[in-house]
Symmetry: C2
Subunit: 362 residues, 2 copies
């Protein structure tokens, strides 16, 4: 098609300029919409663009703008730690089902983060590069990737506290925004949820239903979110005259929720209310309760946390504390793009408020 105007390969600015009878600079101005260009010439250029089928070469543009117009979405944390064989380059088709990535996607939480990020990025013509950083080698990869200018900044979702990645990125002078406050302070913006308030809502709901023997399945206590939800729950219970409540620590997985419920039931067979620090564990708890002949919410009321897809998948549907993950992820993305356009803007944090969603389980 119209090969007469192009030398070979993809058409370049030069080709368009020739076709439109103007200079390269003018085409560039029209394409990027900068400065005033005579409407007549603009039109001519636009026509030339579509005639030649021109698409700007991103590498060339990036080379001069020093911007990749891409950002990385990094899921960071400790997964299965690197065995001796880590260097073995051959993760071949045999498939490694128990990998960190698999763990990550098992929780509906992460899909919601992606949803929020993508929804914000897409109208802006951007797409996230997906990276996982569960080993120190992988963390270096992330930093190298950013340093190479392949992405302008990173959105970091840590699954564990003490994650060294945020600090690494900050030290290297790279842009990043975190999902959730880092365990130890790092000069990086983040979004987070008022976890304690959420836990308070759960506690008050359980108490409002006249549950009196209430226990909780907490999240991992080395994760700030796990810690905060427990604190919020415990404080509220204490304030209402329940200074002591049974606690079993879970790991935010369904299995850990099941195990925790088993223990709770063994030690406190008469309990009538459970607050699980996330929906997945609440789901596991419901299963175990039913297996032990307890009806939910008849015998035991169960409240989850997150309002993830697991909450609806559960029988009965879970009463839970809604965490607006998609909105938080979108805000996180907004903060990063903001940072990129104003590199010395302030480091900020945005805290979202949770909301109680009452369904059938409590």
């Amino acid at each position: 098609m119209t090969d007469d105007l192009r030398s070979a390969g993809a058409p370049t600015l030069e080709d368009v300029a020739r076709a439109a009878g103007v200079s390269r600079a003018t085409v560039s101005r029209v394409v990027n919409g900068v400065r005033n260009v005579d409407p007549v010439i603009q039109e001519a250029v636009r026509r030339a663009v579509s005639v030649t089928g021109y698409t700007p070469n991103r590498a060339a543009r990036s080379l001069v703008t020093r911007r990749a117009d891409a950002i990385a979405l990094v899921v960071s944390g400790a997964g299965v730690e690197p065995k001796a064989a880590e260097e073995s380059e051959d993760t071949t088709a045999s498939g490694d089902g128990s990998s960190f990535t698999a763990q990550v996607f098992a929780d509906p939480f992460f899909g919601r983060v992606v949803t929020g990020v993508v929804n914000y990025l897409r109208p802006r013509g951007m797409h996230p590069v997906l990276m996982f950083a569960e080993s120190s080698r992988a963390r270096e990869d992330v930093v190298a990737y950013l340093r190479q200018g392949r992405a302008d900044g990173a959105l970091v979702v840590s699954t564990h506290a003490e994650d060294p990645l945020p600090a690494l990125i900050a030290e290297a002078g790279l842009a990043a925004v975190l999902f959730a406050r880092p365990a130890r302070p790092v000069p990086v913006s983040y979004v987070d949820l008022a976890h304690q308030d959420g836990a308070r809502l759960a506690a008050e709901h359980l108490l409002g239903r006249n549950c009196r023997r209430i226990a909780t399945i907490s999240g991992p206590l080395d994760v700030p979110a796990g810690q905060a939800r427990l604190t919020g729950f415990r404080d509220t219970m204490a304030r209402h005259g329940h200074p002591y409540i049974p606690i079993v620590e879970g790991q935010f997985t369904q299995e850990s929720g099941e195990a925790a419920m088993e223990r709770l039931l063994a030690e406190h067979p008469d309990l009538d209310g459970v607050f699980a620090a996330n929906d997945l564990m609440a789901l596991g708890a419901c299963h175990v309760l039913r297996e032990h002949g307890r009806s939910v919410p008849g015998d035991v009321a169960v409240v989850g946390f997150d309002d993830s897809s697991a909450a609806l998948a559960c029988r009965p549907p879970l009463t839970t504390v809604r965490q607006p993950v998609e909105g938080m992820a979108a805000e996180m993305t907004r903060l990063l793009l903001d940072r990129l356009s104003r590199p010395d803007g302030p480091v900020t944090s945005v805290i979202f408020e949770p909301e109680l969603v009452v369904r059938a389980s409590a």
Copy 2:
């Protein structure tokens, strides 16, 4: 650090060359490991690289190599179709929970694809760019992205048949590999599962347990995989003297599985075996069966398909047909990289064999 050797900003090849007392070309050769370079000089260059803290600029490299060294992972299909307001650029922090991306991640299947892709890509220093193509606008974005050279090729996972994306990509002369055979033939390589064989395994297992009133919850029949699983199941049943079996079409979601099971139970209260075309629907079916007082597998045996995380999350754990999604995704990635290094290699397809995994549900 050692600012004396760098002009400003990130160190370039030039800086390293100066530090090592060689030419730019030599540094490039060492960095890329091509041609013979005197070991002594190599060592000097390497030292200079670490002293200066040099990292190659990818944009500059891409500009000349015409390779982005990046690939796109595209989830394609029809989601919520674009409303009139599609152009409204403001998918702000309000969060759009019911979006296509949310639908996608609700199925554990996709996480497994990502796992396989990432596992293969990572040792090779690559990371996928995540894209969603559920509207024609989004499909154009994908093509434009590839045409701009931001990614060298695409891995396409279609959630629906008749997905126009593979054809669009092929027409544009861009590299791609598909997960699952396209509904209408497109000159693009793909990986797929022998769905019919998998369904046969399920049928034979149910028959082997002496189930005699067997029904199936099929996948969406406009998806090749849904179609093939039904065909395989029906054919096997017919071959064993069951020419007619009740069928209800589902949508591969848990809810659709529940609805289908309700209908099946209403119309055939005496059934003793169910084959659901994926685990999510099997999970839904189990819920409904229990609600109707049927024990699984005591009263009704249930077989799923995929061996996804839902199979283990189910009570009882699902007997299912294992689809090696991670391995398939890795192979798909291998095919793409292959294609990129040998652009006129053959278009191929790799079909994987499923495997029956017997657990408690049947």
